[in-house]
Subunit: 256 residues, 2 copies
Amino acid sequence: MSKVITIANQKGGVGKTTTAINLAAAIAILEKKVLLIDFDPQANATSGVGHNPDDLEVTIYDCLIDNVPASNGIQQTDIENLHILGSSINLVGAELELATIEQREYALKKVLAPIRDQYDYIFIDCLPSLGILTVNALTAADSVIVPVQCEVFSLQGLGKLKNTISLIASSFNPDLEIEGIVLSMFDKRLRLAKMVVEQVHELLSDKIFDTIIHRNSKIGEAPSVGKPVLLYDVSSKGSKNFLNLAHEFINKNELS
Amino acid sequence: MSKVITIANQKGGVGKTTTAINLAAAIAILEKKVLLIDFDPQANATSGVGHNPDDLEVTIYDCLIDNVPASNGIQQTDIENLHILGSSINLVGAELELATIEQREYALKKVLAPIRDQYDYIFIDCLPSLGILTVNALTAADSVIVPVQCEVFSLQGLGKLKNTISLIASSFNPDLEIEGIVLSMFDKRLRLAKMVVEQVHELLSDKIFDTIIHRNSKIGEAPSVGKPVLLYDVSSKGSKNFLNLAHEFINKNELS
Ligand SMILES: Nc1ncnc2c1ncn2[C@@H]1O[C@H](COP(=O)(O)OP(=O)(O)OP(=O)(O)O)[C@@H](O)[C@H]1O
Ligand SMILES: Nc1ncnc2c1ncn2[C@@H]1O[C@H](COP(=O)(O)OP(=O)(O)OP(=O)(O)O)[C@@H](O)[C@H]1O
Ligand SMILES: [Mg+2]
Ligand SMILES: [Mg+2]
């Protein structure tokens, strides 16, 4: 029984890719079979696990628009149980190309159908937008993880994102749930961070993961060598945070 | 003689809005007449200067799609010489609506033509994308400022952005120049930040502003009260950085 989780937030730079790479890696290290899908033309998740987007023969764009089977694009990573289906700048074209296709909201769901049972968990990293690509990712998903940076602008967008998720649930994907809110880049020295955490609790208290991801220099450095933080510096606070988050995620999904 | 400057970078969270609000505010405080245009449906620049996007009768969406004159949407701010033409979530619809319009790349340029001579400088804050809205902003502009966060993922996107700028220049706006790269959220304690700064210098050394914007808690706090950092805490490092950047910008544009 596999589960598809989309990682989305239209606010830029809140930790979507960082959460996607490092949570997927941590869960794979805990012996689950995991696929990471890079659904952003910036292809940060692709380079963040050590692949060069320009070298990929098949990307998610080819699967979405040219009906290439997803299995042709899936690559290994440095972690045995973690695979990636990468992206490239071509995906920019998909926004316009999908606009003319029948049932355009279900394109990604159709791509994933033949491969989903080969994995325990599939994570989809989204670009900072609420356009047709993110609609596809929310339609293909069983649940959504929303990283929220502990800053003012990130907080302001949360209401709109919640509306979009309910809209997608009522129009295209009735089973879509909120998996949880991940508070990211928390800096305990900043008054602002504590203020934002309090406000998120007031808005969505029952949906927030207990594990908070603290700002940690090793998390920012790891992408420079194309590795998840767990392979870059396993003793770092960043690695501990993501292992805790992975345990929390698995307990929530496998014990209930 | 007025100048239109677009602030763009498809990477999310690199400081586009922070640069737009605070540079526009600093230049207005130095007695130039400045208009800030919020061209992002998230409307962070609008709320960052104290306006509630939901309360605006006319936004940039109405000017772009329904031909409402820009002057009907322009609002005062807490700074005498700084005006804002705000945004709202409606702008999300513009991406699709523009797709069917003749000369869709020039829509924003047409909106600005009647008002540009009322200002010395007009700054346009963009959403994190290279789609039709950002193409419009680059087509309407005389030059572009690119904020680059001193992090790995931000560095990786720089090459693609440069390509897009040259593409726009050759297709829609031959006069488009790079005004400069602003290194943002620089943390002098991080090895990573120094490494990224060196790499940006190798890529684009002649285009980088001397003024670096350091990470500063007051910059992050200011949006919580809807004020530019210069009004929130004029003695902060953030305020000094943006005043220096404003002086550097004005000297470059008015002495030559
Ligand atoms: N906990 C953390 N500690 C330190 N740096 C972090 C942390 N989380 C993310 N970062 C850094 O902050 C930047 C933004 O994070 P990231 O790119 O993951 O956000 P995103 O939401 O995926 O951005 P986009 O909207 O562009 O897709 C990156 O440079 C990343 O390395
Ligand atoms: N120099 C700085 N010091 C501290 N915080 C900063 C600084 N610059 C930006 N920030 C904070 O970092 C976050 C990201 O900045 P900002 O929202 O300006 O980026 P952006 O590029 O406009 O994002 P988006 O891609 O979503 O439009 C914001 O919460 C902002 O307050
Ligand atoms: Mg990302
Ligand atoms: Mg912004």
